[in-house]
Amino acid sequence: MTFWDKLMNIDRRWVYLCIGIVVIIPAIIPFKVPVSTTLEVERIYDFVESCEAGDYIYLGIDYDPSTLAELDPMTYAILNHAFSKDVNVITACLSQFGPAMAELRLTEVAQQYGKESGKDYCFLGYRPYPAITILSMGLDFQVTFPLDYYGVPVDSLEIMQGIRNLQDVKGVISLTAGNVADFWITYGNGRFGFPLALGVTGVMGADYYQYLQSGQIFGLIPGIKGAAEYEVLSGFETTGLRSIPYQTLSHGVILLFIIISNIGYFASKRKKRT
């Protein structure tokens, strides 16, 4: 095996080791990477920014702990932004492992702003079958969720007086890592026409750009990069911006391995010809 062949056949364990090392580096030597913002994230920021005190937004924390590294920064940034403007936040969870996690995040941020459950925000909890739940919330919150997460009747909550369903909120932002995003587009925006924005994982991002142009979603936060952009715009820095150096270095290493692999491929091909 020649040197060029070896470049094409590096043992995968070396690749794993390199990735392992570079994701440790930012933890030992912290540094910052400049983040430029994109239009799709700016639109969501502008939407929350345009809300006035007392306006309602629905924030769907529709993800599992498996993707919290990417989606948690979005949750924190949007909640901070909304609570800082005294916007009423209604939230629920359409992922079976999500409710306890969502409740932790919600109460953590709410406490920082002195917000009260049932008065300034409301956590409705979890219901199975996302498509049905979305369709049902589009008709009536109280039918879908007779009680909130804490067992309090939803119709007795101060925040729920004056709104009946998703059509009464100013907009819906769903943070999700699965096909719940499709359900929101099809059964939420498609059926009821309320403004919808999505926060999704990096790998899902490319799938949802088509809905931006068609106007079915007004904004999109793709992955940790999108979360970092929202943090830059809103000024609420959590783990989004702090995660960017890890992603930058790991992407750099992947690109380096791709370059090495292609150098080996072309050199090996040339040698065989000669």
């Binding site: 400049p34 932790l104 079958y129 790991s250 992407h251 992947i254």
Partner: protein
């Protein structure tokens, strides 16, 4: 009769749900809510069936020395979550169930998902080679998208335009074609099921 009744039932339910979706009214809302209640009821039966099936399978595995350990871990986790979750107050922070969720489930799920980074790196190293024209296009696209996170000075700004163009034009065209194809396929399949042409969901005799 074993096949005819379900087919009639599916036909009736399918037509009713289509009508209620496209004709919004109070009656439609009531019908939708009523149908949803039925979905939940059916789901509860399916849940019980699933639990019974899981327990039967795992208790059988307890007899196999190779599978015993994993089956025991699954059953232990299953029962501990049921017992800690039975009381409503246990859903609050600080309870045993919450601690298990926060300190066991969340790290496990996050760890498994994190492992993808290693596999993606290895797969990218092996797959992204400029063997053909199409492979070269794929390679260049991946390169531009991944490079958007690298601080490359003035090149970064140009790269951002490249990323925006790739996502908004070729990516969207391809995704839209796939989505429309999937949508048309789903409509065709639904019509076949409602009309009783597609019967595989009934199983075999």
């Amino acid at each position: 009769m074993r096949k005819q009744i379900p087919i009639y039932f599916v036909f009736g339910s399918g037509i009713i749900m289509i009508v209620q979706y496209f004709i919004p009214s109070e009656e439609s809302d009531w019908l939708f809510t009523y149908a949803n209640d039925w979905v939940i009821v059916v789901g509860i039966f399916a849940l019980a069936l699933g639990i019974w099936s899981l327990l039967r399978s795992e208790f059988r595995k307890l007899k196999d020395p190779k599978e015993r350990f994993y089956a025991a871990v699954l059953l232990f986790g299953f029962f501990i979550m049921i017992f800690t979750g039975l009381k409503a107050e246990n859903l609050e922070a600080g309870s045993l169930m919450f601690d298990i969720f926060e300190n066991v489930l969340i790290p496990i799920q996050a760890t498994i998902f994190s492992l993808l980074a290693f596999y993606v790196a290895s797969a990218a190293y092996r797959a992204f080679r400029a063997r053909t024209v199409l492979a070269t296009i794929l390679l260049l696209t991946a390169f531009i998208i991944m490079a958007r996170l690298l601080p490359l000075g003035p090149i970064s700004e140009v790269n951002q335009y490249g990323v925006a163009w790739i996502l908004a034009i070729p990516n969207m065209a391809a995704k839209r074609a796939i989505t429309m194809g999937v949508g048309l396929g789903a409509i065709a399949t639904c019509i076949k099921i409602i009309l009783g042409i597609e019967r595989t969901y009934l199983g075999h005799d």
